[in-house]
């Protein structure tokens, strides 16, 4: 899922220049691992959760409909 992508952004820009190309995942990595503020980083990555939960619900509904 591009929404939670890390790899491409990290390899191409590392979120730079001046933190202008971060996604949630890369920013969480930047804060938690590079800046060693684990709690803040975890909070940032948790911001992805509502959207991901929605996606999961839709996928499950779709899967159920296909099986029925």
């Amino acid at each position: 899922m591009t929404f939670s992508d890390f790899q491409i952004v990290y390899v191409l820009t590392r979120g730079g220049p001046a933190n202008s190309t971060h996604l949630f995942a890369t920013y969480a990595y930047q804060v938690a691992m590079v800046g060693s503020r684990l709690g803040l980083g975890a909070a940032i990555s948790l911001f992805m959760f509502p959207v991901l939960a929605l996606v999961i619900v839709f996928q499950l509904v779709y899967l159920r409909r296909e099986q029925a």
């Binding site: 890390f6 790899q7 990290y10 995942a25 684990l38 980083g41 992805m48 959760f49 996928q59 499950l60």
Partner: protein, 309 residues
């Protein structure tokens, strides 16, 4: 040519099938060509805007010269063509990264296949209470991405519950971390595959005196081999290409895997060692591509989930 329909001339087939296929293949193989060309150019040539970027001039002239004079000169070839390859294999830890990647990918693939086969069989066949709920829960864990899990997981790996081991900076960190997404993946894929195998086959085996375990191992597993193979291949590529966990759990250059090692050791600040990067990328991706093309029939059968005959 029994299969060619009436009115389907060679020219028409050329336009309808071969031409689009040709462009598609060109599109698919171009990255590999680009990696190869860049890996055999000198650094100077890579940055030179005056020359044609698609042709490695220095290397090509050296090869042509040697073929013309029928005088093989290995060291000249080394300097003109494979300079970056030599640097990568001799002066960096690339071989170590390759070993680490293989170890981690193979071990975690086998762990996940074992867990995946057993749990998928249970979900597909044993109608225990809450089997559906379990299936949905496993599907949900598959959909939660590593980007959400890596911070808590780094804490867990640093002090493994029950064992009180610090696995950080060892390949074992990755071997225990990768099944977190591989097991749900294998289970989900194999549940679907097991469902396509007729129940009657193992019922017949059990009437003939086999236990359920025997029926599973002797009857169902051989029939499910295409599914198991494709699940294993997918699990292998997923764990060999994994980036985030490998980046976070491993610090020492000697313990890194190929994707992380190449990115973190061959890019120093603003300096990109393009030749080494590209040869490393090629060496890392070609084996996987070969395995795929080798098993492609099994893999297609595994995806469509068909038991024939």
């Amino acid at each position: 040519m029994a299969r060619v329909a009436v009115g389907e001339t060679f020219a028409k087939r050329l336009v309808v099938y071969h031409l689009p296929l040709f462009f598609f293949v060109l599109f698919a193989l171009f990255p590999f060509y680009w990696m190869f060309v860049t890996s055999i150019k000198s650094t100077h040539e890579t940055y030179n805007r005056e020359v044609n970027p698609y042709i490695p001039v220095a290397c090509a002239t050296a090869v042509v010269e040697q073929v013309r004079s029928l005088n093989f000169d290995g060291s000249a070839l080394m300097e003109n063509c494979f300079y970056h390859w030599r640097t990568l294999l001799r002066d960096t830890l690339f071989i170590r990264w390759l070993e680490n990647t293989l170890l981690v990918a193979i071990v975690s693939t086998f762990i996940s296949l074992f867990a995946g086969i057993t749990s998928a069989y249970a979900l597909a066949r044993l109608n225990f209470r809450g089997a559906d709920t379990f299936g949905v829960l496993i599907f949900i864990t598959y959909l939660v991405p590593p980007t959400l899990l890596f911070i808590p997981l780094s804490d867990v790996i640093g002090d493994l519950p029950f064992f009180h081991l610090n696995l950080l900076n060892s390949p074992w960190a990755l071997i225990v971390a990768y099944p977190t997404f591989l097991v749900p993946f294998c289970t989900w894929l194999l549940t679907g595959y097991f469902r396509t195998i007729p129940k009657e086959l193992e019922e017949a085996a059990m009437i003939d005196g086999a236990t359920r375990i025997q029926a599973m191992i002797r009857i169902i597993l051989p029939l499910a081999l295409p599914g198991v193979l494709s699940a294993g291949m997918f699990a292998f590529t997923l764990s060999a290409n994994e980036f985030l966990y490998a980046l976070i759990f491993i610090y020492d250059a000697a313990n890194k895997t190929v994707p992380v090692g190449v990115v973190s050791e061959l890019i120093k600040g603003d300096v990109f060692y393009w030749g080494e990067l590209m040869s490393g990328a090629l060496l890392g991706s070609v084996p996987v591509a070969l395995i795929y093309s080798f098993f492609v029939e099994h893999y297609v059968a595994g995806m469509t989930g068909a038991v024939k005959g």
